[in-house]
Amino acid sequence: MIMLFILLAKRGRKFELRKIPAVAAVEEGVRRAAEMGRPVHWTEGHPLGSKLYDSNGPYLVAGLAILNYVTALCTRLKARLIVNIGHTELFPLVHELVRNIFLAEGASNRYVDDDVQLMPEQSYAIALVGSMERNSIGCHIQTGYFWSQDEVLIPEVAQGIGAFVVSGAQVDAIPYVIMYSSSVFIADEFFAAAAEITNNSTDIGALIGCEWIKMAAMLLMLAGSILVTLGNNVLLNLTKF
């Protein structure tokens, strides 16, 4: 289904996309920080909560797509970007990602190697909070997979400094990040953000494919509920297959 819609989009079929408020909030936050002359901060969550090579890896990959956008915005708006990461396996990747975007945007003279830092695993949250306070950040963006201490402590400290907070996280972190953030990528908005940011046919096609899978899932659930109520377990048995 995803492949089919990617092909349709690539062949020029136009699809309407709903605007995601958190994408606009990212730009608002970066603009605000640039005007205040304060840095923008990005992080991806505690390294013990997820790994790039486990089932939570796609959260980190989706988070990197947003970092891509944040870095491009920072170079255009001349805001300083501080990237603090906890995953050792992500460090070389993030370093390269940020440097590539600074080069691509013609801002290599403003690229500071020290602004991309690897935080110690055990003291990730507290080291991060210290860095945020010392640098007096104006905007905090966290997109990835978050644990209890990251989803509560880090955005709370950012709010205390007076930073604009934008979060994107897994489902169980959403109730917490909503309390502490100015704007949140709710559920699959986190993955759909790439399509709105890039306006690229592959991302749009994949997004529309996902929407159709969701529709099919909803219809299956509805049909399953009706059939089970009527005493027919055909669909239920099919899922056990």
Binding site: M3, L64, L93, Y180, T198, N199, C210
Partner: protein, 222 residues
């Protein structure tokens, strides 16, 4: 050559790894299972080796601050470097299971970690205070639900009215569980799409390649 090393090789590695994992999940072929197991082991080894990067990165950053004599901070940076390397050498010299190493770990690191978790309580209170201010219909519904769930979970609620507990259970089991499952399903579909795009090299943003952004601009112009 540079583009091959920087783009093609990583994409090929991702494609082979992704297809091996998918193959292992869907087909019971011994060769594929063995390749997937080896790749998983390799990933853990690469991540463990990258810990050296962490030590070097932390040291370099702190040394910069020590050399610059950052006002009011450099002694802490110095202390951080001393502790980091003392810890590493202690581990290398006496082994990570030695009594001395474990004493430091249990009495310093574990205690500090517990203190960090203790701070969370205050952060939670601040968050609740912000979230539970009546600003409109939506926050009103949330406050009412939270009030009912809280009263249903404490003894005083049951003393006030016996219906709080069933109402609380219903809120948790029906609207809350329904919304939560819906979110989990859409997140799983989104995860699937991201994995698909990454494995087949359709999304290069994780490599810092702005191909998608530039393509998007071209498409917009067209």
């Amino acid at each position: 050559m540079s583009s091959i090393l920087r783009q093609r090789v990583p994409l090929l590695i991702v494609l082979i790894s992704g297809l091996s994992m998918l193959g292992e999940f869907f087909f019971n072929v011994t060769e594929v299972t063995s390749i997937a197991a080896q790749l998983r082991l390799l990933a853990v080894t690469v991540a463990a080796t990258a810990m050296i990067l962490a030590a070097v990165s932390v040291t370099m950053n702190n040394i910069h601050n020590i050399v610059r004599r950052t006002k009011g901070q450099w002694p802490y940076h110095l202390w951080c470097v001393v502790l980091l390397w003392a810890w590493i050498f202690l581990g290398l010299y006496s082994g990570p299971t030695s009594e001395t190493y474990l004493w430091f770990f249990n009495n310093i690191l574990a205690a500090l970690y517990s203190s960090i978790l203790g701070i969370l309580l205050f952060s939670l209170f601040m968050g609740f205070y912000r979230a539970f201010r009546l600003r409109g219909t939506e926050t009103g519904i949330m406050i009412a639900c939270a009030f009912l769930v809280m009263l249903g979970s404490v003894t005083i609620g049951e003393l006030m009215w016996g219906g709080f507990a069933p109402v609380s259970r219903w809120i948790l089991a029906v609207p809350n569980a329904g919304a939560y499952r819906g979110l989990i399903i859409v997140m799983a579909i989104g995860l699937m799409a991201v994995a698909f795009k990454t494995i087949f090299g359709m999304d290069l943003s994780w490599m810092g390649i702005l191909r998608s952004v530039t393509e998007g601009k071209k498409e917009e112009k067209a």
